[in-house]
Symmetry: C2
Subunit: 347 residues, 2 copies
DNA sequence: GCCATTGACGCAAACGTTTGCGCTTTAGGG
DNA sequence: CCCTAAAGCGCAAACGTTTGCGTCAATGGC
């Protein structure tokens, strides 16, 4: 390993001079000739600074962590995480940072010890935490160390980035109403299970009230995160309420499950029943029919969150970010046709 | 920050004694009383060793990197990466290692500078590299540093882990032949584009020869990695060869695209035509019909690769690993029915 | 009772940087 | 010609550990 001492020796200057010329961006005054000597020696020897030593004295590692809690042993969930992760990595790399990935095991209110070690290790300059699930244990573990932190999602924290799920819910409902549907089923999640889902529901409710609809009266069936639960829900809803002409699913996976179930039951989508999802998963492009859904700009999350973290690391106060979701109209929703609409009105 | 010096002072011992008692697992002999004093002082003060300092002297950071090259700006591809990553992370964490994620930009034979910095930084004890795409530039950049490395896939390297894609190809073809199909279309990738795909094709070819079929005569259409290209391929194949009763796709995405296209053309799957994919992507469980495909045990890759890396870090020579893939029969393939079979034989 | 051995611990160097401060030289002003 | 200031550079401490070696006392054998 070639150290700065070697460079200094070859350039016949002191170590401190070499260090200042090589790393100190604040150009202290050095003779042109000296600078050249050092620079040349550096490249000739192929000198690369040892970040560990640098970190020890500066206290800065230029490493940040992305934390995706691992709940019930399920890995950080699916492609959404990957998109975010990819964005963080890219932005990190552009700014000379390195990304450490951590998926701490959270069980019975405790975080695994390796995560605690990581926090105390001094390896991290800051972190970005996904609060898709309950991260209270993580945040309490984190409090002891004064590490700059950005939170993704609804966990209460001064610096956060989230999508406006209320607005997303509104878009969902408005789209369905504009298509003249009035008999609308809801495949939701149990209240309180996910802050994001709750917000989506609140958006739906708000639109209902604006249109004089009784939100509480909407046929509703609670699923989970699996596509199978979407299928179950669709079957149950249609059996209890054959008059339904539209189904709102709170995420794409249950929407896709619902579509599959409907088709298996001989129901055409969107011919007889419109289905709308939420998340804009990649596979919704290619599903049959392509799914109308809500896009959360996931690919922007990583860079934006990392940008917030960087301003925090520079000692400034980043503004929280709330991203507006967008409706993506594909082919799983269609206007209620005249015949059915009239029938609907008769009831 | 509470340092080991504080602990030593509170226990009224020297720093070296504290260090040895706290970290040196090779229990040098110390008086019972001294050990207790130090341990107690340590917990009372909440001492956590600074890994950076420890790394500086020991030369070991207990950080390893997972490298997923970013080609043409596409992020590390999809869920396969995520499954592997999740496995690596879990195994890292269990063994007290930390995982750094790097997705270096590779363009025109060069790797971005941040990746080079990472390699030279001294931050890494070792790395696991995904060779899904061409990683020559990465490997040459890596050669200058003597970092223990495991390669995932077919890139030539002493320590590798891969799935037996030749066997996978065999399974693919055997399954189709056992279902009595004889008019088989191939949605492949251009030769040489992917070592894994080439291997799959070689397996298919081998089975053909064993059954006296002319591999070269199989109707074939080359796609890419997108599901759209699968749709295009299916349409083209069926138009040129209406007699086909089975389609082999070299990956699930193009298989799903093909299924969608077939259904749009009024072809039932598997009623009129069987389709088989490769990869066992999660969405193939829920597609309509659920796809018959090949599973590569991706969730085992991470732990196995990490295990190899750990033995390498301990100074031993790990054995390369070749995992056998498994056929997953779902509902997109079915035996050729009698009528069609007889017709098939007549031609 | 003396010497060698062993057990228990401390001293200080080392890892590769950064950085506060001080030293020398030169230039410039009076 | 002297004094001051600035320019250019080096010394050495510091960051928090680990670890080779040395020291001291106690112990045991003869």
């Amino acid at each position: 390993m070639v150290t700065i001492r070697d460079v200094a020796k070859r350039a016949s200057v002191s170590v401190s001079t070499a260090s200042r010329i090589l790393s100190n961006s604040t150009k202290e005054k050095f003779a042109e000739a000296t600078q050249l000597k050092v620079l040349r020696a550096s490249v000739e020897l192929g000198y690369r600074p040892n970040f560990v030593a640098r970190a020890l004295v500066s206290g800065k590692t230029r490493i940040v962590a992305a934390v995706f809690p691992r709940i019930y042993d399920t890995p950080f969930t699916a492609l959404a995480s990957l998109q975010i992760l990819s964005g963080i990595e890219a932005y990190c790399s552009e700014n000379g940072y390195h990304l450490l990935l951590s998926a701490p095991q959270v069980s019975s209110g405790k975080v695994d010890s390796n995560f605690n070690n990581l926090l105390a290790s001094g390896y991290l300059d800051g972190l970005i935490i996904d609060s898709h699930f309950d991260i209270d244990p993580i945040m309490t573990a984190l409090r002891r160390f004064k590490l700059p932190t950005i939170v993704l999602g609804y966990h209460p924290h001064p610096y956060y980035l989230r999508s406006d799920n209320h607005l997303g819910g509104r878009l969902l409902m408005q789209h369905i109403l504009e298509l003249h549907h009035r008999h609308i089923g809801l495949i939701a999640l149990p209240d309180g299970m996910s802050a994001a889902a709750d917000q989506r529901l609140s958006g739906i409710k708000a639109v209902c009230e604006e249109h004089g609809l009784d939100y509480a009266a909407l046929p509703r069936f609670n699923g989970t995160f699996s596509s199978q639960s979407g299928a179950t829900a669709a079957a149950a809803l249609l059996e209890a309420h054959p008059e339904l002409t539209a189904l709102i699913a709170l995420n794409d996976r249950i929407a896709l499950g619902a579509v599959r179930q409907l088709q298996a039951m001989g129901c055409t989508v969107p011919g007889q029943i419109s289905v709308i999802g939420y998340d804009d998963l990649p596979q919704t492009h290619d599903s049959n029919p392509p799914l109308t859904t809500i896009n959360q700009q996931l690919s922007n999350w990583g860079p934006l969150a990392m940008n917030m973290l960087l301003t925090l690391l520079e000692g400034c106060e980043p503004e929280p970010v709330i991203l507006p979701p967008r409706l993506v109209v594909r082919q799983s929703t269609t206007p209620l046709n005249e015949f059915v609409r009239r029938e609907g009105h008769q009831r």
